[in-house]
Structures are given as structure tokens and as C-alpha cells.
């Protein structure tokens, strides 16, 4: 009976499903994207094997972090530290890619080792650049081709791949070269610190000492860096806020549909009550209709979200986000949200329907 009631007003049901679908798609897609971006950054920070990542304190966006390169030498003097490597992180336009992630990497530690070369011999000179394989495909540049960055020309001396989408969609050059190109002399965006094997259980103590001795920095475990950076937190908050708006729209749409459905079926509900149906059965019927509409919208929304996430493939630095399947967390979030939507959208109409007095409902024109 519930399914027949839903199918009774096909267009209205489909529109309600569409509203829920969009709300769920927004929630799931934004959850996936923010998870994906946080995951990419975590992968980036952990790919060197360094346990600690240090950036400038008091800034909202990691890319604005600017630390004196000299600080690295002081960090290296800490007893527990095995090596320190500085990175310069820049987003710039290269060819037809407006979101080209460029890393300037210092030669310390194994920073360069993880860029697994699939072509070429690597960086030889100051004007050499390594290109991620996804970036290479996107901007159609290969080994020994020339690329202009900030009006300077570089030779592609190698094509690499790592497990990190940001890196595969961008490029790498020597730290000194990047500092010169972007006019950030003696500056790095962040430091990565590798501890000695015997000090691996002292990560938190080292972080505390670093922050105490160097108040201009903030340090995190590399595995927790993404979750703690203000820009990721802001992204997640923004995602939550936009999701909430999407959810409210979906819930209001569902509630409107169910209220109209209850009004149209007033006499029918009166008949059911006259035939002995209890209030709770009426309530369950209306609520079930709302939940089913929401669940159908949820499954459609998850499919739409997968499509939206796949659109990130337009940007090579984000394209790995589109290739990864929707996480279980994102899908479960969508399901939970759909149930909440259905409950919110259906509970008031269901309550109204159950409260109808049979005698009055039977007289309803």
C-alpha cells in the first residue's frame, strides 16, 4: 500500500526524490572530496617517511606558510632527529592547467627518492623539472619538452609517479630553483622531520619541544597533519555548511510532499480509522512513504555524487579523487542523512495524519 501511495502521484514523488537526490549528492560528494583532499595531503606528508611536519603557526592556509630555511638546521640539531627536509609548495598555472602543484624539494633525506621515475634521468641542472605522469598527459608535455613557469623555461628531465594525486598532477624541482622562480629566497612552506628509530616513541615530546623552542612554528604528526590544518578544517566546515543547506532543502521538500499527500487523503485516512486502523499504523504508513522516498533519493544521490566526484578528473591534481571509489564512510553518511531527511520530512505529516479525528476526516471534501 505504501508503494502504491508513492506511485499514485508519480510526478510529485519524482520531484521529491530529485530534491533528496541533490541533497544527498551534495553531502556525499563534499564528504568524499574533503576526505579525499585530506587523504591526499596526509599521503603527501607521510610519503617521505617523516613522522613530523612543521609549518608556520597562526595561518589559515598551508600554502601561505613561510618559514626561514635556516630553521631546518636548528631542527636537525635536536638529538632525536635523523634528518630534516624543507619543501616549497606553490600552486601556479602551467600551460592549460590552472591548478598545477609545484613542489620545491630539498635534497635532504629521501625526499627525491619517492618520485619514482618512469622516464628520464631526473634533475641534473637548475633548469630541470620532473613532471608527474598525470600532469604530463594533461598538458601534453613529455621528456625533454620545454615548460614555462613564471616566465622561465624549464626542461622536463623526467616523468615520475608516486601514490599521491597532488604530486602526480604537478611537478618537482630543486628547492633552490623554486625559491628563485617564486622569489621566496631562503624560504620554505614546511619542514618534514624524520626521527631516529630509537626515538619513534617520542614523537609527541619532540613536537612539544619544537613548539616551545620555536614559537613561530606549529608541528603535527604527519599522519594527523591534514586533519589539523586550518584550511582543511575550513574545507570540512564549509562542506558541512553546504551539506546542511542541501539537507534542509531536501527535508522541506519531503515534508511539503507528505503534507500535501496527507491533505489529499484526509477522507481516506478517516476511512482507515473508521475501519479500525490505529493511529500508530497511520503514522507508520506516512513515515514509511517519506523514508522510502528518501532512500530512493539517497541511492540516486550516491550515483550522482559519484559522477560529481568523477568530474574532478578535469583537474589532474585532483583527478585521483575521481578515480577512487566512494568510501564506505561517504556512502554510510549518505544513507544516514537520507534516513534523517525522511524522518524529518515525514514525522510532522505523519503526526498530523494520525491525529485526524475519523468523524471529521470522513466529512472532508
Amino acid at each position: 500500500m505504501v508503494m502504491k501511495n508513492i506511485w499514485r502521484r508519480k510526478v510529485r514523488s519524482l520531484l521529491t526524490i530529485a530534491g533528496v537526490m541533490i541533497g544527498i549528492a551534495v553531502v556525499v560528494a563534499l564528504t568524499r572530496l574533503s576526505e579525499g583532499i585530506a587523504g591526499q595531503i596526509t599521503d603527501l606528508m607521510m610519503s617521505t617517511g617523516a613522522e613530523i611536519t612543521v609549518m608556520q603557526s597562526g595561518i589559515a592556509d598551508m600554502s601561505f606558510s613561510a618559514l626561514e630555511e635556516e630553521l631546518g638546521k636548528h631542527f636537525a640539531e635536536i638529538l632525536e632527529v635523523e634528518w630534516v627536509s624543507g619543501f616549497l609548495f606553490q600552486i601556479t598555472q602551467v600551460e592549460n592547467n590552472p591548478y598545477f602543484v609545484l613542489l620545491g624539494v630539498s635534497p635532504n633525506g629521501n625526499a627525491f627518492d619517492r618520485f619514482h621515475l618512469v622516464e628520464g634521468e631526473g634533475i641534473q641542472g637548475e633548469k630541470d623539472l620532473l613532471l608527474g605522469h598525470m600532469a604530463s598527459d594533461f598538458i601534453q608535455k613529455g621528456l625533454n619538452d620545454r615548460i614555462t613557469i613564471q616566465k622561465e623555461t624549464f626542461r622536463v628531465s623526467g616523468i615520475y609517479e608516486t601514490g599521491v594525486g597532488f604530486e602526480n598532477g604537478g611537478g618537482v624541482m630543486k628547492l633552490s630553483t623554486a625559491q628563485q622562480v617564486f622569489k621566496k629566497d631562503d624560504q620554505v612552506t614546511l619542514f618534514q622531520i624524520k626521527l631516529k628509530p630509537q626515538a619513534l616513541d617520542q614523537i609527541d615530546e619532540v613536537i612539544t619541544r619544537l613548539e616551545a623552542e620555536f614559537p613561530e612554528v606549529i608541528a603535527y604528526r604527519s599522519s594527523e597533519f591534514a586533519q589539523n590544518t586550518p584550511d582543511i578544517q575550513m574545507l570540512q566546515t564549509l562542506a558541512a555548511a553546504v551539506s546542511l543547506i542541501g539537507l534542509l532543502a531536501g527535508a522541506l521538500g519531503t515534508m511539503n510532499t507528505m503534507l500535501m499527500s496527507v491533505f489529499e487523503r484526509t477522507r481516506e485516512i478517516g476511512t482507515l480509522r473508521a475501519l479500525g486502523w490505529r493511529k500508530v499504523r497511520i503514522l507508520r504508513m506516512i513515515l514509511a512513504e517519506a523514508l522510502i522516498l528518501s532512500l530512493i533519493g539517497c541511492f540516486a544521490g550516491i550515483v550522482l555524487a559519484a559522477g560529481l566526484v568523477a568530474l574532478t578528473g578535469l583537474f589532474p591534481a585532483l583527478s585521483s579523487l575521481g578515480k577512487a571509489p566512494l568510501s564506505g564512510n561517504a556512502v554510510l553518511t549518505g544513507l544516514f542523512v537520507a534516513l534523517v531527511l525522511g524522518a524529518i520530512g515525514g514525522v510532522y505529516p505523519a503526526w498530523r495524519a494520525a491525529r485526524l479525528r475519523p468523524i471529521e476526516a470522513l466529512r472532508y471534501e
Binding site: M1, K4, T271, A274, L275, G276, W277, R278, I359, L362
Partner: protein, 274 residues
């Protein structure tokens, strides 16, 4: 003959709205098991209100309503009462338009512990009783007005109620369909002993019942058992001038002319029996 049980008993039943408008002004009546009773009256006489009181669709302002041994006026669980004790037939059949005839019949059964198979079997049986065998899978839009009302009658029997309450069941039907509906009620009453209370303003419908309760301005003004029509004709003949002459032993000219003089004694005996 075993004594019939009381199914409905009302005592000083009053229903008022806002303390000013009185739909019922102290109704006292008793309906026995297996009676087919009609409640007649003009619009505003309180007949539908009386039905609603008996069917626990509304509560009285004062007075008592007892149905099948339960004091309806004091009942806490009216839903259970409506599910188990009474069955309703409405003027506008009030079938669910998206459900088939059989599914509509099973609607009241959802409150009972029955399997789907049991419900379907009972629905089919009830539809057969009302003459709709073979139409279980048709939706109301595919049925005529009379057929829809028959589905509603079958639905009212779904939970084996103690009585059926029908509010103007032929009000929206043509004469022929209305007659068919009343024939079904009579069949249920005669063949299955179903107690039925029909509210109507139509004297033709009312005469199908065994008993007619006349309501006027919220009060019972007459409560009579309907006579057999042939017996009614004989009584009217007995009261006529010719009938009175025959009882006096006179042989009016009309009797002589049709050659019934030799049958005078028989005619006299028949009239004395009526």
C-alpha cells in the same frame, strides 16, 4: 425458539455541539441480533449522528451506548472496537483507489494477526458472497458504482463484525444498483444472520428492512416492524368497504357479478385471520 441477544442498546442518548445544537435529544432503542433495521428521517433528524455514536466514531454528550456488551460511551480503545465489533458501509464507498477490490477488502484485516494467504482467501470468499467473484483484481475505477458499494460491503464483513452500520448506502446509486445493494443486505441478513443497521432517507430502501425507526429532531417518533407487503394488502382490503361488507355477510353486487358468491365463506374466513 432461542431468545435473540441484544446487540445495541441506547439509553437517554444525547449529542450536542457547543451545548447549543442538539443532534440527539435522548434516544432509547434496542436492536436485536440478526435484525435488519432502517433508521429513517429527514435531513438533520440525527440519524447519521446516531450511527456515529453506535459505531464509536463519535462520543455522546450524555447517555449510554452499549454495543455487543461493550459500553461504547466509556471505551478507551475505540480503534479496537471499530476493528472487531462493527463494520462500516459509507454513502461514498470510500474505497482506496489504488488498491484492487480484494486488497480493499483486506484493509481492515491488517489489524488482525492473519497471514497474507489467509487474508486473500477471506477477501475472495467475501467478494463471492456479494456477487463479485472474478473481479478481485479490478481497481475501483474499473467497477460500476453498485459494484464498488458491494466491495465496500465485503470490506465491512472483513473482520466478522457483530453488526454492519450502513450510512445511506444507496444514496449515490441509481435505483437498480440501489436495489441490488439492498438485496445483498437482505441476503446477508437472512442467510448469514448478520445484524445490519441502515440509515436512509429513502422509504423504498427502508421498506427492505424488517424494522424502521423514525427519527425527527433527534428523537425517536416511531419504531415499527415492517409488514409483509401481501399481508399489508390484505389488511387494507379488510379495512375497505368491500372487505367490511364481506365480514358482515353481505353479498355486494360486485361479488355477485364476478361469480364469487360461492366463495363468500372462504373470503370471510381469510379476512378474519388477517
Amino acid at each position: 425458539m432461542s431468545e435473540k441477544r441484544i446487540v445495541v442498546q441506547t439509553k437517554d442518548l444525547v449529542k450536542s455541539y457547543s451545548g447549543e445544537i442538539y443532534a440527539l435529544k435522548g434516544v432509547n432503542l434496542t436492536i436485536l441480533e440478526s435484525e435488519l433495521t432502517a433508521v429513517m428521517g429527514p435531513s438533520g433528524s440525527g440519524k447519521s449522528t446516531l450511527l456515529n455514536m453506535i459505531g464509536a466514531l463519535d462520543r455522546p454528550t450524555s447517555g449510554d451506548v452499549q454495543v455487543a456488551g461493550e459500553m461504547v460511551s466509556d471505551l478507551a480503545d475505540l480503534d479496537r472496537f471499530r476493528s472487531r465489533v462493527v463494520g462500516f458501509v459509507f454513502q461514498l464507498h470510500n474505497l482506496i483507489p489504488t488498491l484492487t477490490a480484494a486488497e480493499n477488502v483486506t484493509v481492515p484485516m491488517r489489524e488482525l494477526r492473519m497471514t497474507n494467504k489467509e487474508r486473500d482467501a477471506r477477501a475472495k470468499m467475501l467478494l463471492d458472497i456479494v456477487g463479485l467473484g472474478g473481479k478481485e483484481f479490478q481497481i475501483p475505477a474499473q467497477l460500476s458504482g453498485g459494484e464498488r458499494q458491494r466491495v465496500a460491503i465485503a470490506r465491512s464483513l472483513a473482520n466478522e463484525p457483530r453488526m454492519i452500520l450502513a450510512d445511506e448506502p444507496t444514496g449515490n446509486l441509481d435505483t437498480h444498483s440501489g436495489g441490488e445493494v439492498m438485496d445483498i443486505f437482505k441476503g446477508l441478513n437472512r442467510n448469514h444472520g448478520v445484524t445490519i443497521l441502515v440509515v436512509t432517507h429513502d422509504p423504498t430502501v427502508a421498506r427492505s428492512a424488517d424494522r424502521i425507526i423514525h427519527l425527527l429532531d433527534g428523537k425517536v417518533v416511531r419504531d415499527e416492524f415492517v409488514m409483509d407487503p401481501y399481508l399489508q394488502d390484505l389488511r387494507e382490503f379488510k379495512a375497505s368497504r368491500l372487505g367490511q361488507s364481506i365480514q358482515k355477510g353481505e353479498t355486494p353486487l360486485s361479488i355477485q357479478e364476478v361469480g364469487l358468491v360461492s366463495h363468500m365463506e372462504v373470503l370471510k374466513e381469510i379476512l378474519e385471520m388477517v
